[in-house]
Symmetry: C2
Subunit: 459 residues, 2 copies
């Protein structure tokens, strides 16, 4: 397929943009809040809507695939020939909860366009990834009757819940999902420069409980003779880091390796912006961290261990002189490179359990874990994305390393053993907040981006 086929696809897309947007509202009306059991039926309804749309467009093997959690949607078109590459296009159709509801100008599941912005929960994150890919497919097929490469779609229903059951699901469907590259289309930019995610950190979350006496005791009667669970929590938390912030869990850094040159260049490039953004978002004048690393290295290329919450005893106003019956804390560890989340979970558990003694026992519960991942930032596949954006937005995308974790990326990378690239197809803001919106000036260009990408991949 050649430039003429591309051109014909873009013309189809451009002449149908308004119809696409109207159609998009249908999907946005389904309240597919995956994390809330009350919306279970709606989540499935969204999955079925997508399957029906796939079938209408001629996508093959379109089906709802059950997981142990929320259903996934699969479909493929594999007629570009054995020599053509196969891309696995990933997005998620579940959306964030909508609280606080009273801050929404219009209801989150009644899409409305105001000032060229389409307001709805999920308009960006991440029904945009699902819908724009489908419309790119529709445009190319309508214009040419065939695609330049083979594609598989995998749309997830539990990304906003941390993809708790996706790893076994991917394991179980390794062959079905086999591809040359996975393309993560999740979210998008909020300014005039497209963004590509260059890396994410892995994560292990855990909860540690230290049970003590049967009930809160009078600190006068039992202070000095009963081991106080809050003291144990303090002792464990204090032992997690040395005075300079290095994590003291034995073996924690064993699998941390220096970042690649390409990623190192990215770190340098983003350093200044990241610090400015950091000051703005935290209200802090002084940052913290392990000596020998820059801000952006610490935030994206070094592992962390942060206590997310501490709890125990009396927390109300004034004094209440109890010796608490229990104390607990929650922790999230961000992982990098080759740090295996299961290995880190075991090391953390052993480290904490080591504090147990005659007078206090300790319960450690691992809540979730996922791998870190580095996505492609150079080479032909990354270039296919970069060129697609350049052609449609008129801008080279900015590569950003994320300090946060997107479990699905590491899962696809590790289980399928394929490279991953990132190509968000949304544009707007208020993701995870009230009044999420898609800036419609970018809707057409994003369909174009998805079309260009498939043609670029065929080169």
């Amino acid at each position: 397929m050649n430039e003429h086929h591309l051109e014909a696809s873009l013309i189809y897309a451009h002449t149908h943009t308004d119809a696409f947007i109207e159609h998009y509202k249908e999907l946005l009306r389904i309240p597919s809040i995956g994390a809330d059991p009350a919306y279970r039926d709606d989540v499935r309804r969204a999955a079925e809507w997508i399957v029906a749309e796939m079938q209408r467009l001629g996508i093959e093997n379109a089906q709802v695939l059950d997981t142990q959690g929320q259903p996934a949607v699969y479909g493929d078109w594999l007629h570009a020939g054995a020599d053509a590459p196969t891309a696995l296009l990933y997005a998620h159709y579940d959306v964030q909860p909508v609280d606080p509801l009273d801050l929404w100008v219009t209801p989150p599941f009644e899409p409305e366009i105001r000032d060229g912005r389409l307001f709805a929960r999920g308009a960006i994150d991440d029904k945009s990834g699902v819908f724009v890919h489908l419309k790119a497919f529709e445009s190319i097929m309508a214009a040419n009757g065939a695609l330049p490469i083979n594609i598989k779609f995998i749309f997830e229903g539990e990304e906003e819940s941390g993809s708790p059951t996706m790893e076994p699901f991917i394991e179980a469907h390794k062959e079905l999902l086999a591809a040359d590259v996975a393309v993560i289309s999740d979210g998008g930019s909020s300014d005039e420069t497209p963004r590509m995610m260059a890396s994410v950190r892995g994560i292990v979350t855990a909860e540690v409980k230290v049970p003590g006496p049967v009930r809160d005791l009078h600190s006068g009667s039992f202070g000095g003779v009963v081991h106080n669970p809050t003291h144990m929590v303090g002792k464990i938390i204090s032992a997690l880091h040395d005075d300079e912030g290095r994590i003291r869990i034995p073996g924690f850094y064993d699998d941390v390796v220096p970042v690649s040159e390409a990623q190192q260049a990215l770190i340098k490039e983003n350093e200044e912006d990241a610090i400015a953004k950091g000051h703005e978002e935290t209200g802090l004048e002084t940052f913290w961290g392990v000596p020998g690393f820059t801000y952006y290295e610490r935030a994206t290329a070094q592992p962390t261990c942060d206590v997310n919450g501490i709890s125990g005893g009396y927390q109300g106003k004034g004094a209440k002189t109890v010796l608490p019956a229990e104390a607990s804390f929650k922790v999230s560890m961000r992982l990098v490179d080759n740090q295996d989340p299961n290995d880190i979970a075991e090391k953390f558990t052993a480290f904490v359990n080591n504090f147990a003694c005659d007078t206090l026992k300790i319960d450690v519960n691992i809540l979730s874990s996922s791998w870190s991942a580095e996505t492609l930032v150079s080479g032909p596949i990354a270039q296919a994305v970069i060129d697609a954006y350049a052609a449609t937005w008129g801008k080279t995308p900015k590569m950003e390393r994320a300090g946060g974790s997107v479990p699905i990326i590491g899962m696809l990378q590790h289980v399928l053993d394929i490279p991953v690239t990132s190509m968000g197809l949304g544009h707007g803001t208020n993701v995870h907040s009230p009044n999420e919106y898609y800036d419609l000036a970018y809707f057409g260009p994003n369909v174009d981006t998805a079309i260009h990408f498939l043609f670029n991949m065929a080169k």
Copy 2:
């Protein structure tokens, strides 16, 4: 005055017991919950009821004395002569809150007698101290027209709130309250053996806050670059004790001296009972504490530093990967001997503030403080109490050291510079709980005890 005067007083008391109990209900009907601002008027009404009753009985200088908090009640009778001793009789007329109200069989301020028990909030703690002293006065005066010794009454209205404004009040009324001994009549026994409080520990309570970023941050975006306030809380708590439980605040033990031989004997005597009670109340098999001390020494004769509560970040179910905007903890330190609560408060504050750094500041707020106290356990005054109980209950009282704190005792002892003895005039249980009651079989004997005490003091 002699045995005949005593006998006549007891006869008056015995022939009026039923009338006394009926009269007691009047005082019990006033909901003088000192800690709850909603009951402010009732607290004053109770104080005024007592003053009116004092005036009716011929107690002189009866008056409500304002404090910076709840009013106190004063009255005296000082006509026993310059050679006779003067006793300051202390009790408190404020009562504990009544929650949970639905567990009360009859309303807490509608006194009712069932099975020989008088149910009402404050029936024991501590309107009994107020009322029984007044009835002892009435009995002696009615029978003899004079008392064997000089007495001053001081009835407090904020004991259940920790006596927050009593120290300056006592300072301001040093002369008015001057006496040879203060008699603390607060509470009483719940079995057939009378109890005398031999010591209480002092206390300093404090709250430590560690403010961090302006809001909870994403632990992925800011883990590694923002100093986590919960880590600081862990570090401070961990530093409070060494591995064997000794408190590491510099100078904390400076004013701790070995307990007296008399108190040491008490400790030995109570050791076994205290341990048995400890197992029962805590549900724990193994106790904890600084090596080199027994259980009862640790619980009553050694100072402590217990964290009462820790708070910060996400405390709900599951994981939420925040880096908390603030973390805090509350602490109560129990003091012994010559430990000056103001000195300890300063040492604690300095110790904690020392953890402040470029990336986290620390706010320490001292909430309350009071002196420890040892009450008389031997000598003529203690003997006057012991003999009074022996004559009326037929039992020698058991001396108990309290691990808890009763601020008013140390205040009276330190500000007035007089010895203190303890003579509870209640009998019953559910103090601080629903269905508090006075076992009326002991009501008459307790009036007798108060009468005997005054005669014993004259010997």
